[in-house]
């Protein structure tokens, strides 16, 4: 008997992707009975599910963000590589390289295999286990940066630009906008790799998750709260803050701040300019155009579903490679990682 087509057992519902025979959702956008969660970003991990299956790290991150009890009434940790049988569906996780604990959700039912990658990247990241290719019949991908203008440069080169700027403006405070889960800790770890061993200062919104990362075994070195009152101490320092705070009153009270933002969106000048960014750093936790195409090819799936982002360009390019693409238009995804200061005032 031929294996069933993935669309016979994996359905798009208003709450998100639903594995029918297994009776569970993947990254549902509303509270459900059984959820498998790819990673801790708020557009993928919502509060209020009854049962949650995820990596140990993702469960810890969810608990830290949502509070005990809201991150799944019962939590079940699954290690990458271990498999589970859920009503006849084999379920296992594979690292996605996106943030700490992020995993692709792999499922096989009656010989038909689907991989829901969540968010992912192929660049190295000292705080996240690297992406692993899982060959499959159906690959479900994001398309956040699915335009050929998005090719992320080597992140070390971007870090070097930041450090050159710090050396050039030793009297000024460099405040780097970055989202609090993943990007923040990745930047800290990269700064440490680049030899920056001075304390790194954190906006209040970034402190809790840095603690969680350290508890999960990711060392971040000396961290300090960025208290604006001690503005003189922050001369020559690097401060990490949410993207929304860097162009805000809060940042203006620092010593002549150099406003930087670390995001894949910084590749396009107009985007950077609108945010009032003085030092755009192109550092992303999402796959760029080349990585998206390479990944879709390497998994050898004849069919690729696109959850959110620039699906038109990706599907066009996949068709040229003989791969069938389908846009799922899943709403509610891609919101946490809009890593850019408020675009236009009051627009």
């Amino acid at each position: 008997m031929a294996a069933p087509h993935p669309q016979d057992w994996l359905r798009v519902t208003p709450a998100g992707l639903f594995c029918e025979p297994g009776g569970f959702f993947i990254d549902p956008t509303r509270a459900v009975d059984r959820a498998v969660i790819s990673h801790g970003h708020s557009d993928h991990a919502r509060p209020g599910h009854a049962h949650v299956l995820a990596t140990r790290e993702t469960l810890a991150i969810m608990t830290a963000r949502m509070g005990e009890g809201r991150a799944g009434a019962t939590q079940q940790a699954l290690r990458c590589g271990d498999a589970l049988d859920v009503n006849g569906v084999r379920v296992w996780l594979r690292p996605a390289g996106h943030v700490l604990g992020s995993a692709q959700v792999c499922m096989e039912w009656r010989g038909s295999r689907a991989v829901v990658s969540g968010d992912y990247k192929r660049q190295a990241d000292p705080t996240a286990t690297g992406f692993e290719v899982e060959p499959c019949d159906l690959f479900v991908t994001e398309a956040t940066f699915a335009l050929p203008v998005f090719r992320h440069p080597p992140p070390e080169a971007e870090m070097a630009r930041l450090l050159r700027s710090v050396a050039l403006f030793p009297e000024r405070t460099h405040v780097v906008g970055c989202y609090s889960l993943g990007k923040c800790q990745r930047l800290i770890a990269m700064l440490r790799q680049a030899g920056w061993d001075r304390p790194i200062h954190l906006h209040g919104a970034h402190q809790a998750l840095c603690r969680t990362y350290e508890e999960l075994g990711v060392p971040l070195g000396p961290l300090r709260p960025a208290t604006v009152a001690k503005k003189d101490e922050l001369k020559g320092a690097i401060v990490l803050a949410p993207p929304g705070a860097v162009a805000d009153r809060w940042a203006r009270r620092l010593a002549e701040p150099v406003v930087a933002v670390a995001s894949g969106w910084m590749r396009v000048r107009q985007r950077a300019k609108q945010g009032g960014v003085e030092l755009p750093l192109v550092i992303s936790d999402h796959a760029d155009w080349d990585e998206l195409l390479a990944t879709c090819t390497e998994v050898q799936a004849p069919e690729v579903w696109v959850t959110h982002g620039r699906e038109d360009a990706l599907i066009h390019a996949l068709a040229q490679r003989g791969i069938k693409g389908r846009a799922l238009h899943l709403v509610g995804l891609g919101e946490e990682e809009e890593d850019i200061p408020a675009e236009e005032p009051a627009a």
Binding site: L147, P148, V149, F150, R151, P153, R161, S165, L168, F169, E256, V258, R267, V268, R269, Q270, A272, K273, Q274, G275, G276, V277, E278, L279, P280, R310, D312, A313, H316, A317, Q320, E344, P345, A346, A347
Partner: protein, 529 residues
């Protein structure tokens, strides 16, 4: 590595709003780069050096040969800028292993490569560069750098980097040319100062401080000389065996726009004066002079209808003799004697204004409502001519501004720090037939809070868009302050304001009660022709 380094400099300059930060970036460029790269970079930034080797359409063709048309369309649509889209979408050919070109290599190749071969040369360079450097290269070869580095800012950066006074650099500036090797060698102490010899170079001007009410009490009338402050542009005329030049206040060479002045410079001297459009004895409104500015060449009709003249204030150098160390009174006597002897065409001497007390002078100032006069200049009789703005030697004493209540009509986004705000405002007044006609544009005078408020109001009340310009509903009245109103054929209203700025937002005033055009016309001082 010079092109990637230049690209990084360029990108930082584009995104950096602060002047001090720009200066720091330029200093670093001068310190890090060898000759001739740093000089070529400097010339490219100040647009002393521009290229037109490639048109945007050529760049578009080069990339089209390598890109899927559908993906190009979506990308261009998203990015919005042709050069940037090309830079980002460019995919270097696999296996290219050449190093990125030096700036000097690019410049040389652009000058020597036959036109037909330029696309291939460009493509070869693009293959060696990353996205930022590709953008820099494309902007460079298409002549669209536009980073807002003025020659003046560059000279200040050179001064800060080298420790040599900016006035000294200004004196040699017009005697050196890209890539400025002799300049950099002098500034880094490796060669003597470049000798401009007879070359007509710019000497930095002496500038005045605005006189505040609180300063007046300390002044003794007998120490001071008064002159009218004419409403033209301040210029320096330099002529001698080495050539002739007309410089603006900032040291920009504006000779080409005023050939009749150049022709009249049959002398060997350096003079300071005000450039005006004059018809006979009468000074024309500033708007007339404006028509002559920023032109590379002038038509015979322009010369006839808007003839230029210079009203002289001072003499800096007479023949070989430097008069700048002399006190004002002595220079003034030399200027009058020189003018009597040489009698140059198109030039008169600005008269001294006699007064016996500062009160009397204040009355004269308030009485002088001619549009051609901005106010008074006060100069110490014993002050030498020194470069820059030295406090206590020269004062400018402007007339109190006039005001008008006008209605906001159009808004446009600003530049630099304000690029995300609608900060440039066109305003108008009511014509007899009930139509609102624009009379001017203002960019300043409001607080940050007012700007934010206006920005929000404009976004919520836009009724039309023309590119970057938004037309807004009639709803905001500005009290606009300005120095003078002048007749202008270039404005639909027939009138133009000098130095308009927003004095207040009149949230209390309904738009119907804004001023009428007749009121503004009544403020026009000169009704010539």
């Amino acid at each position: 590595m010079s092109l990637p380094a230049f690209a990084e400099l360029l990108e930082r300059l584009v995104f950096t709003p602060g002047r001090n930060a720009k200066l720091a970036l330029l200093r670093q460029w001068f310190a890090d780069q060898p000759d001739p790269e740093r000089g070529i970079g400097l010339a490219a930034l100040t647009e002393e050096l521009t290229f037109s080797a490639a048109k945007p359409a050529m760049i578009r063709e080069i990339v089209a040969a390598r890109t899927d048309p559908e993906l190009w369309r979506m990308s261009y649509d998203y990015v919005g800028d042709l050069a940037e889209t090309v830079a980002l979408i460019w995919r270097p050919r696999a296996g290219v292993n050449a190093p990125p070109p030096l700036l000097s290599e690019v410049v040389e190749a652009l000058e020597t490569t036959p036109k037909a071969e330029i696309p291939a040369v460009l493509a070869g360079w693009l293959d060696t560069l990353d996205a930022g450097a590709r953008l820099a290269l494309i902007k460079l070869v298409t002549g669209g750098l536009r980073v807002g580095v003025s020659a003046r800012l560059a000279r200040v950066a050179l001064a800060e980097w080298s420790g040599v006074a900016v006035e000294e650099i200004e004196e040699v500036w017009h005697g050196v040319a890209p890539p400025y090797a002799s300049l950099f060698q002098w500034l880094s102490g490796q060669a003597p100062r470049p000798d401009p010899r007879e070359a007509p170079v710019f000497r930095p001007l002496m500038l005045a401080h605005p006189l505040e009410e609180t300063d007046i009490a300390a002044l003794r009338a007998e120490d001071w000389r008064a002159e009218w402050k004419w409403d033209g542009i301040r210029v320096q005329l330099t002529a001698g065996p080495g050539g002739r030049k007309l410089f603006s206040r900032g040291g920009e060479d504006i000779s080409a726009a005023f050939p009749e002045i150049l022709a009249a410079m049959e002398f060997h001297a350096v003079l300071d004066g005000e450039l005006l459009v004059m018809r006979g004895e009468e000074v024309a409104p500033f708007a007339d002079l404006q028509q002559r500015l920023n032109r590379k060449s002038v038509t015979a009709r322009m010369l006839k209808e808007h003839p230029a003249a210079v009203r002289l204030y001072d003499i800096l150098i007479d023949g070989e003799e430097d008069l700048r160390p002399l006190p004002f009174d002595a220079r003034r006597a030399r200027l009058e004697a020189w003018h009597g002897r040489v009698a140059p065409a198109r030039m008169d001497v600005s008269p001294l204004v006699a007064f016996d007390s500062l009160d009397a002078l204040a009355r004269l100032r308030d009485g002088a409502r001619a549009a051609s006069i901005e106010g008074l200049m006060l100069k110490r009789g014993d002050a030498p001519y020194v470069a820059g703005r030295v406090k206590g030697l020269w004062w400018k004493w402007k007339r109190d501004p006039l005001t008008v209540d006008a209605v906001l009509m159009y808004a446009q986004r600003g530049h630099g720090k304000r690029s995300s705000f609608y900060s440039d405002y066109t305003f108008g007044v009511w014509r007899e037939d009930g139509e609102l006609v624009p009379i001017g544009k203002a960019y300043s005078g409001y607080t940050d809070e007012e700007l934010a408020w206006l920005d929000r109001w404009i976004r919520n009340n836009t009724i039309n868009r023309f590119g970057p310009v938004r037309e807004v509903d009639r709803g905001i009245v500005f009290e606009v302050a300005f120095d003078a109103a002048q007749l202008s054929s270039r404005h639909k209203s027939g009138v133009a304001l000098r130095f308009p700025r927003i004095a207040r937002i009149r949230r209390d005033k309904p738009v119907e009660e804004a001023d009428r055009l007749e009121t503004v016309l009544a403020l026009v001082e000169n009704h010539p022709r």
